[in-house]
């Protein structure tokens, strides 16, 4: 709801007329609701000509209606973007280079499933690209710079490169949703793409925003009987989409997934049905093996295997899953697998549907 005053000021009304008009119609919406003739007759004391009211109406509509964009414009934007990669061929294969900047990716999984490790792989791989700006919004102490430094060292990078990389990395710690919104706002002010999608040398610049974990921040405001939380959640969804689409940054966040053996529920992430449609892509991370003392003890000294599957996408059929290992040097391809099985599918009913659709001539 915008105020009427800023619009009316530009339409050449006298101070007195303006005061009377805004007193009757404080917001632009109030003004647009009423026919121009009625406006004139309601406030005869202001003596505003019908033409001026009509002009004002056109002006407001012109400013409030979003700019028209054609498919060509959108395609040009798409082509100038870049695909977001994890630096692990088989993991990238499940996206078929269709995971791009200007998109929101959700990484969901139960606790200890390797969500943060997946984010770290993405961060470390992209950090090596000197044109890439990465902002990490940490809601607890989930991401540690020493872990990032450790991975980069194991990848064989020297201390100079390490320092240069870490200097390009911005850490923000937030603990409430309003601060997260502010932090996202702040991100938009320093991302290179907010000023110009191309850097000084004409090369398109990358920017990535990682939020780990989003669930921790949203959880305190949902549940119970209050509806307030939903207003903030939709505001958050809006802001994330804004950062992604308008600023051409990739937004990656982690969400929790309820533990369940039920394959139908396996497609769902936390934060309710409302949230399901927010991200462009959703990948689900699932840890191989049980999560209890005995199995965790057996895990000591071994690489943890995780299954990454694409469960939602606006562009590609989500039918692939891939098994990778968490090692001290980030994620690695599961050793012993000689070839990547593209046809390996998740057992969910949805993916079966997709397969049926694909096999149809």
């Amino acid at each position: 709801m915008d105020l009427l005053k800023p619009f009316a000021e530009t339409s050449g009304l006298s101070g007195e007329q303006l005061a009377i008009l805004t007193a009757h119609y404080p917001t632009a919406l109030d003004f647009l609701d009423i026919d121009c003739e009625v406006v004139v007759s309601t406030i005869p004391e202001a003596a505003i000509p019908l033409e001026v009211i009509k002009r004002l109406r056109r002006l407001i509509l012109h400013q409030l209606i979003p700019k028209d964009t054609t498919g060509n414009d959108l395609f040009a934007t798409y082509q100038s973007g870049f695909p977001l990669t994890f630096g692990l061929p088989h993991l990238d294969d499940i996206f078929r280079t269709e995971l791009r900047n200007s998109e929101v990716l959700e990484v969901c999984g139960t606790p200890l499933s390797g969500k943060t490790q997946l984010c770290l792989q993405l961060i470390c791989h992209n950090l090596l690209d000197t044109s890439c700006t990465i902002a990490i919004i940490d809601t607890g102490s989930h991401i540690s710079p020493s872990r990032i430094a450790g991975i980069l060292r194991l990848w064989g990078h020297g201390e100079d490169k390490l320092e240069e990389c870490l200097r390009r990395l911005t850490f923000m710690k937030v603990t409430t949703i309003s601060r997260l919104l502010q932090a996202l706002d702040y991100v938009s002010s320093f991302l290179p793409s907010s000023r110009d999608t191309r850097g000084s040398d004409g090369v398109s610049t990358k920017s990535i925003v990682v939020i780990d974990s989003l669930y921790a921040i949203v959880a305190p405001i949902i549940g119970g009987r209050k509806v307030e939380g939903f207003a903030l959640m939709s505001q958050l969804a809006f802001t994330m989409k804004y950062v992604a689409t308008e600023l051409q940054a990739a937004v990656v966040y982690t969400n929790l997934k309820p533990p369940s053996e039920d394959s139908e529920a396996g497609l769902q992430a936390n934060l309710g049905v409302f949230w399901q449609s927010v991200p462009h892509h959703r990948i689900s991370v699932h840890r191989v093996g049980e999560l209890h003392v005995d199995s965790l003890t057996a895990q000591v000294g071994h690489a943890t295997e995780i299954v990454v599957s694409l469960v939602k996408s606006t562009k590609i059929a989500p039918i692939c899953s891939v098994t990778v290992c968490i090692t001290p040097a980030g994620l690695s391809w599961k050793t012993g697998n000689s070839s990547f099985d593209q046809t390996k599918t998740t057992s969910s009913p949805k993916s079966k549907l997709f397969r049926a659709a694909e096999s149809r001539p």
């Binding site: 102490s141 989930h142 710079p145 870490l166 706002d185 921790a216 903030l232 999560l291 965790l296």
Partner: protein, 401 residues
Amino acid sequence: MDRDIGQVPLEPAIRTKLLKLGYGKIDSFTDLADAEILALSAKLQMSLDETKSIIEQIRSYRGSVLPDYVSVLRGMDLLLKSQSNLSITTGSTRLDDLLDGGIQIGQLTEISGAPGIGKTQLCFQLCVNVQIPKVLNGLEGGAVFIDTDGSFVEKRVTEMALAMLEELNRDQTENCAAPPEELPLERILDNITIFRCRDYREVIKTVNVLPAFLKYNQHVRLIVMDSVVSPFRYAFEDMAERSKVLNSVTQKLISIATTNQLAVVLANQVTTKFGPSGEDGHIVPALGASWGHSCGTRVILFLKDNIRTALLFKSPTKGETLVPFSVTPAGIKDYLPKNSSMVSSGPKKRLHEDEPMPEAGDIVASLADISHLAEDEDQITFEDFDAMEAVVDFEEQRDEV
């Protein structure tokens, strides 16, 4: 970008009024004339000063300027900062190694384990160890103990404090370091503030009071909550409500830990989780999956081959790691094999004459028997577990489903 006033933490009533009056955007407050502010205060039915403070609050939400309470750091600076961070020693060198030098400042650490395994002992030890003087590489800080179980035993803490003082004096004479400031026993006990919370409402109150308390007690470097689970375990019928309250408490604690640069340690109980058809009872930390993400570092204490063992299973820096430790009259120490003269008692026996909660010790013994049975793949019936209400929690199991 248009910023909605929804993101400013205003009173809901005021926000609704502002929305109705057409002030839905933060930017619409940027250049308000005095007359308009006066008119607004009349419409809001509030005094001019109140209106001005609200406008000020909304104006402070500008995208390009971040308030100083949201810390923005470059990765390199954060790395250097974390390297110079001191941590709280647990008393056991190997346990410290497991935790990258001890309990980390500015983070949440969860310690879970069966009753009697040594969670509370570790908490007491940390309350004492946080006070080691700076000349001896300590933090010289105070501790806050949020006691929800009534488990704080002054006698045991005194014992540990005396043992620590003795050790400090020995260290000092051996290393010929500068003499530490005089640290009498009374001051050690004085430096531990105890908040006794009987239900979750009191926990919420305490957590909300803590920022103000810490303002006047800036030396506090450790907050311990023993245990985090008991006020929440059965208090809620609606599990969504429970995870909401629990999550807001945790987020507050994270915020306190980051802003005040102190460590938060949360003791958690364990529950037994069964497979889909009721087989394979395994020990997992209580409070379920929605809690699991809250703590950056998670450690579970359990008996492995009758030796107290700590398993680090979540950490921002490393993978699963396992170390043995022991609880002695002098507190938490490195585990030494049985034939060594240093070990005062086996873990299955009662540790000390003065050990608190003797019943808990008994449960450990029986739990050890049961975990032994499980290893031998003997059939464990539900009745066996039923008899041990303290250990098995079917309620929790139901939550998970």
